[in-house]
Symmetry: C2
Subunit: 224 residues, 2 copies
Amino acid sequence: MARAMFEPVFKEIFPFWSEISEQDKEYICKHTLAMTYPKGSNIHGGDVCSGVIFIRSGTLRVYIMSESGKDITLYRLHAGDICVLSASCVLDSITFDVFVDAEENSECYVIGPNAFAEVSERNDNIKIFTLETAVGRFSDVMWVMQQILFMSMDKRVAIFLLDEISRTKSEVIPLTHEQIAKYIGSAREVVSRMLKYFEGERLVELSRRGVKVLDKNRLRELTL
Amino acid sequence: MARAMFEPVFKEIFPFWSEISEQDKEYICKHTLAMTYPKGSNIHGGDVCSGVIFIRSGTLRVYIMSESGKDITLYRLHAGDICVLSASCVLDSITFDVFVDAEENSECYVIGPNAFAEVSERNDNIKIFTLETAVGRFSDVMWVMQQILFMSMDKRVAIFLLDEISRTKSEVIPLTHEQIAKYIGSAREVVSRMLKYFEGERLVELSRRGVKVLDKNRLRELTL
């Protein structure tokens, strides 16, 4: 029964599905739960091993948190994405902890970590898939780290946006990313990616008309 | 000939060596170079794909760099370690660039990226090994990121050390890591790891007598 429910989806999302045995397919499905997480709820935290989370709908936010409760968004996951850092017990080489919250009402399939680890042990293709997914996130995290640690781009883009809206008395800045990049002396790709990050943080809204500032106060905090 | 030189080492360091074909062994050895890098030289930079580097002796420093030239140490590699981020072209999921310098005179074996990638394609065990090595570094990087981004531990430890040497007029602080952790309200593991990081940066020297401050000025910079 569990198999009839989950297999059609797993067949789509897991490149290794066709290569594992019937028993392993059965075993994974048997240890999968269909979960609905309400907006704002915490799904995974600290050193618990929650399992591999597949997002059917909604948005999850993956972040790290300091002892004082300050948090930094590493990346967001949307429908179709898979979260493996929530199953760090499956990956021996991962020794750090992340938190995962539902940022919207989210439907997920969660594969139990022990079942996933056990089946991984028998199937190199699962191992490769899981590791590749983790390494892909490594790249996202490095990007955030570079931008924030070097205290340049988030600040510079935020300052530019605030200056513009105060100058033009309008919350919409009708410039292309290319133009903004020229103003602040950076590359278009960098500005686009930072604006997309700001959009994820609900600081701005991007459209063909340009950049609309949604939250002046939080944007200002970035410039301090 | 190349094989006679490299194989005894590769057999030791690569868990997959016994599982790949004779031709693949031959091919990897044929595309390996024995390199000696003088202290201070840059070995790998930016988006070049230098290959997989095995460190026979010496120390390599892996870091990221901002446009303005500011750099942050991610981790160090010593004799016996393997650097795969210098072969990011082998790992599709890695989309960021790191720099690698020789911090001491270092002898390395460098496997050409194309040969390594080609043989990887045929051998899942090589893929798993390379990905696992990369994910292990991900954990190191997350640690550095957490400590620095949250602006807590590096600053707090540096402030404590400077206060102590100014208070006691001695450059050696005869306290255990446990004691220091208690003073600054943190965990021993965190303090030990940060002190080890400082030692790598030549800011302090650790011994059974305690912590000796080597570079007051650079330590002070951390507290600003």
